[in-house]
């Protein structure tokens, strides 16, 4: 039987349901037989659920207005979005959507 430490190390994959069925069955057997690991597994799952259901608060009005004003200024300065000639010519790659570069 798995040790509790081994179970904990696999907890993420167990919760995220991305496991080989045989390993899953082994972990399930451990959690069925170990009350402590059952509680840890159950409360970790609930922890993740609480955070997933955590609705963001509205952006404070003054900050939102400053954001929208900055955008309006940028749009006025640049004009409507202008297509870059080169961008439509480059090959479509997985990296193409990566906005890593700081072009400011």
């Amino acid at each position: 039987m798995l040790s509790c430490k081994q179970f904990l190390q696999e907890l993420n994959d167990f919760l995220d349901e991305k496991l080989d069925p045989q390993i899953r069955a082994e972990l399930q057997r451990h959690v069925n037989e170990c009350p402590n690991c059952w509680v840890v597994c159950n409360t970790t799952e609930k922890t993740v659920q609480v955070f997933k259901g955590y609705q963001p608060k509205a952006v404070p009005a003054d900050i939102q207005n400053r954001l929208l004003a900055a955008l309006e200024k940028r749009i006025a300065a640049r004009g409507p979005l202008c297509r870059k000639v080169a961008s439509s010519d480059v090959a479509h790659t997985a990296e193409a959507d990566c906005p890593d570069t700081d072009t400011n």
Binding site: D16, N36, V59, P80, D102
Partner: protein, 217 residues
């Protein structure tokens, strides 16, 4: 002036997804429709704001990250080719901005340089108690948000960033690893530690009171 962007009545409720067609808005924004872009902003600004605050843990940096994220998204909208969801692309811009802020603050020595030493004890489980049924309902939405914000703030940055992207923004492990420029194994390790540490903190608040709280009797 192309279209009215400044809202005189900022939205105070969560934007609904009903009628929200991200792909259509992105296509229209790319075609030069500023109002479509402003709708994307209004839909996602609170999520970007929350994420920026969680990563930077600083109000001034949070506002800068919010602005820079949407300004860069607007400027580089043509670079978005739809390989991922628009929001995932936005998150990656925001994460870059937030991490730059963190690095700058570190170089300014306004925050401690050292992260806690990894003693290998992060996975120790101390609180083993079942929770009340729906414990979060004991708190108002605002109170719960404060509890969760405070819990996240106690994590060390490397755990916090992974948790925010994976479990709050719901990026995949792969997307989280790419956004943070980390290996998948590093992301998984940080995620486990973050989850276990947050579980400890919430268990102290949410555990069932009384004799039946503990698994081992």
């Amino acid at each position: 002036m192309y279209l009215r962007l400044v809202s005189t009545t900022p939205t105070t409720t969560t934007p609904t997804t009903a009628g929200f067609d991200e792909a259509d808005l992105v296509a229209r924004a790319k075609a030069g429709d500023a109002e479509a872009f402003s709708e994307l902003v209004r839909h996602y600004d609170r999520r970007v704001y929350r994420m920026a605050k969680q990563i930077t843990q600083n109000d001034e940096d949070t506002e800068d990250v919010l602005q820079e994220t949407f300004l860069k998204a607007y400027t580089h909208l043509d670079d978005f080719q739809g390989n991922s969801k628009f929001y995932t692309w936005l998150v990656r811009i925001a994460v870059n901005e937030a991490l730059m802020k963190l690095r700058k603050r570190r170089s300014d020595r306004t925050v401690p340089l050292d992260e806690p030493v990894d003693t290998g004890e992060d996975e120790i489980v101390r609180e083993i108690a079942v929770w009340d049924e729906n414990p979060e309902q004991q708190y108002s939405r605002e109170e719960l948000a404060d509890i969760l914000d405070e819990a996240i703030a106690t994590l060390k940055p490397s755990y916090r960033n992974v948790f925010v992207l994976r479990d709050i923004e719901e990026l995949s492990i792969q997307e989280t690893a790419e956004a943070l420029n980390q290996s998948i194994s590093a992301v998984k390790s940080s995620l486990l530690r973050a989850r276990l540490q947050l579980r400890e903190k919430l268990t102290r608040l949410f555990k069932k009171k009384g004799d039946n709280a503990f698994a081992v009797l």
